[in-house]
């Protein structure tokens, strides 16, 4: 059974003059590309693997056999997040286990060519590109945001792996104990000093920690970063250049607004209001910010002025959906005890609507929630609840022709709907689901494009391999774990 697509994205949704599209999905450690012309490819190339794994994994295994979510292939690192350049030429993807930022060129025949691989000292948790596609912004689990050129200039090492930890802004000289005998010490510090003195006597200095490629530390929170957005706004000054901004969200309820490089050290404000972790940020068509995380509500912001506009309940519609559809086994009786974790917010590229529209996914929920967002100008509302066949993981939009909007949803074909732990019984569940949208009729399910390929060829990590289910699950479900456990150390 194939690993689900933990991330999926498409190019060119809604660009006016261009109805070509490319769809890219990440399945465990693999990337699959498909275009409207029918061309498709995978990365890495999979010849040998097909030969190896071709059997024992076919849909005609013993019926009703309990499927296992297999750990990804060997030790190939799994993709955790990705973004396409605004010009649709490049894909920037993060592999988690090796903390690497990989830049791929997307060739006209849909082949991916890896151009560079830059490993960070801390695991990247979110990435984005500046509007001009020149710079990658990487947010990491330690709270820092770095800027890296999309394309390393010639002469720079392209496959650099840091030798040790990152160098801090101030260079350390040769190893000398940091404290002197005159320093006043707590017991603990004294011990550290003693250790250091011993070390200084016996060991050569440690190699300086470096990332051997151009990188600038832009800003940092003392918290795990969960999302990063770059955007530009017209200058309020006549004839002024557009202004770049960086928005960052963290596990400690913060949404921070900073200036874009080269002034990213300047904090312009915070959007205060969340009481739980913030996991996703989304800018709407008209420029409102929608944020979601572990709270019962989504928050809508006039982010440029750090102004709260309104909340949209997300917990209630999720709860109601589960109740109505009899997914009740993990549902508490009381709504108040029901936790949700927002795992995706997408701006709907819908030109026909005068309002902003967004789609929201929550972890372990087999549905998407479509909201109309007005920012308080009129009544915002939940427009549609789109039931899908399995837990929704990712969403991509394409516009195959003038005023047509279609959506591809990647779903968890491994776990039971509405559960993040129980494995499915049935053998063959599709990993992608297709919908088309009309302003009048809403969403309707559709047959897929080249559907036959979507489930069979790719990512055939066999169920027979067994192994570390939990590790595999963590690739799909890593948001609810951000919630703080009460009663932590004092």
């Amino acid at each position: 059974m194939a690993h689900p697509y933990q991330c999926i994205l498409a190019s060119n949704a809604g660009s006016l003059d261009e109805f070509n599209w490319t769809l890219i999905g990440a399945s465990g450690p693999k990337l699959v590309v498909q275009s409207c012309s029918g061309a498709r490819s995978t990365w890495p190339k999979e010849k040998e693997e097909i030969a190896e794994n071709g059997q024992g994994d076919e849909p005609n295994g013993p019926p009703g056999k309990r499927l296992k979510l297999s750990p990804p292939e060997e030790k190939a690192p799994n993709f955790s997040t990705m973004v396409m350049s605004n010009d649709s030429q490049y894909l920037v993807a993060i592999t988690g286990e090796d903390k690497c930022i990989r830049v791929f060129q997307i060739d006209s025949d849909c082949q991916l060519q890896q151009l560079s691989q830059r490993c960070m000292p801390r695991r990247p948790s979110a990435i984005t590109l500046t509007s001009d596609d020149s710079t990658i912004l990487v947010a990491d689990k330690f709270g820092d945001v770095y800027a890296l050129p999309l394309l390393p200039s010639p002469g720079e090492e392209r496959n650099a792996i840091p030798t040790a930890e990152p160098s801090e802004a101030v260079t350390e000289k040769k190893f000398t104990p940091a404290a002197s005998v005159l320093t006043v010490h707590s017991g603990r510090n004294r011990k550290v000093l003693e250790e250091q003195m011993k070390q200084a006597a016996s060991l050569p200095p440690k190699p300086k920690e470096t990332m051997k490629f151009k990188h600038d530390l832009l800003l940092g929170h003392v918290s795990m970063l969960t999302d990063v957005i770059y955007t530009t706004v017209e200058s309020p000054v006549e004839g002024g250049k557009p202004r770049g901004y960086i928005l960052t969200s963290d596990r400690d309820e913060h949404i921070r607004l900073s200036r874009g490089p080269p002034q990213a050290h300047i904090i312009e404000g915070f959007c205060h209001g969340h009481e739980q972790f913030v996991s996703r940020l989304c800018l709407t068509k008209s420029g409102l910010l929608v944020s979601g995380g572990g709270d019962t509500d989504l928050f809508v912001w006039d982010w440029l002025n750090s102004r709260f506009l309104e909340t949209l309940s997300i917990r209630d519609p999720v709860f109601d959906f589960l109740k109505t559809n009899k997914f009740e086994s993990n549902l508490p009786d009381d709504k108040a005890h029901f936790n949700i974790a927002v795992s995706g917010i997408w701006n709907l590229p819908n030109k026909d609507s005068e309002f902003d529209e967004i789609l929201v996914a929550c972890e372990g929920i087999p549905a998407l929630f479509h909201f109309k967002v007005t920012g308080g100008k009129a009544a915002s509302s939940l427009s549609h609840v789109i039931a899908v066949n399995a837990n929704a993981l990712g969403v991509a939009f394409i516009q195959p022709r003038e005023s047509a909007l279609q959506m591809i949803v990647s779903v968890d074909n491994v776990h039971k709907p509405a559960s993040t732990t129980e494995l499915r019984d049935e053998e063959h569940a599709s990993r992608l689901q297709y919908f088309s949208y009309s302003q009048a009729g809403g969403w309707s399910s559709q047959a897929g494009y080249h559907k036959q390929e979507s489930d069979s060829e790719v990512g055939m990590e066999g169920a027979r391999k067994g192994g570390d289910e939990k590790a595999a699950r963590d690739i799909l479900y890593n948001v609810e774990v951000l919630r703080k456990r009460p009663g932590a150390e004092d």
Binding site: T183, L219, S223, H265, D490
Partner: protein, 283 residues
Amino acid sequence: MAGEGKNKNKREEYKQSLKEGDAALPQKKFYRQRAHANPFSDHALTYPKSPTDMNWATHYPAYALSKKEEAGDEAQGSGAQNPKAITQPVEIADIGCGFGGLLFALAPNFPDKLIIGMEIRTSVTEYVQEKIRALRTQAASTTTNQPTYQNIACLRANTMKFLPNFFARGQLSKIFLCFPDPHFKQRKHKARIVSYTLNSEYAYVLRPGGIVYTITDVEDLHNWMVGHFEKHPSFERVGEEEQEEDVCVGVMRMETEEGKKVTRNGGVKYVACFRRLEDPPWP
């Protein structure tokens, strides 16, 4: 540990015995706590959702807006409706204030300013709060021209994470970082209270012209702090002459608990101050 449990009981008994309106100073021995708290972990902290949610009135009761209203003062602005609000914003912050030596010394030096000590360790915070309470009570019962200690307060906070929850942009005029934990190990440098990225937060809560004061007896940490502030475009180092004329520098050298310890041991104190510059125009 059995011993620890016993200590804890004694402490609790002692703290229970303290009463509102008690003028006796708290005894430090009941408030000692492990030297380091991990700034990265999820402490059971309470903090306001945003600066406007902060209940400052409980910390500075003499400045509570609602109190003034009762006294018949003209209520002004919407803030007057807010029982948490005070008549003027907090302007000076002592970050990692420890047992509060600096706070108590600053109080009479800045009688019209509100000063806040912020400390991550619970017991140490409680000690400072008890001492403030006792000093206020003592002052209330004398008629001489003593400091009232109504302008200082202390609260528990992990400032490395939550400073912007307490203070609005440009609210502060002075920040003190006195004898910060050195975190000698390289691996722990991100735990230092000064870093290039954290300096952006100090710059955010400081108004242009505001000053960050630093002092330490660890030369390496001093160089680190100077390096990280000088690298940050929002700050410039204050010149030696100006530094030495600033009363705060003297107070910081002599009145912090750590400063006193260093004096006793004949150690060196390294001081550096940094001025918050105006933000540059957009490029």
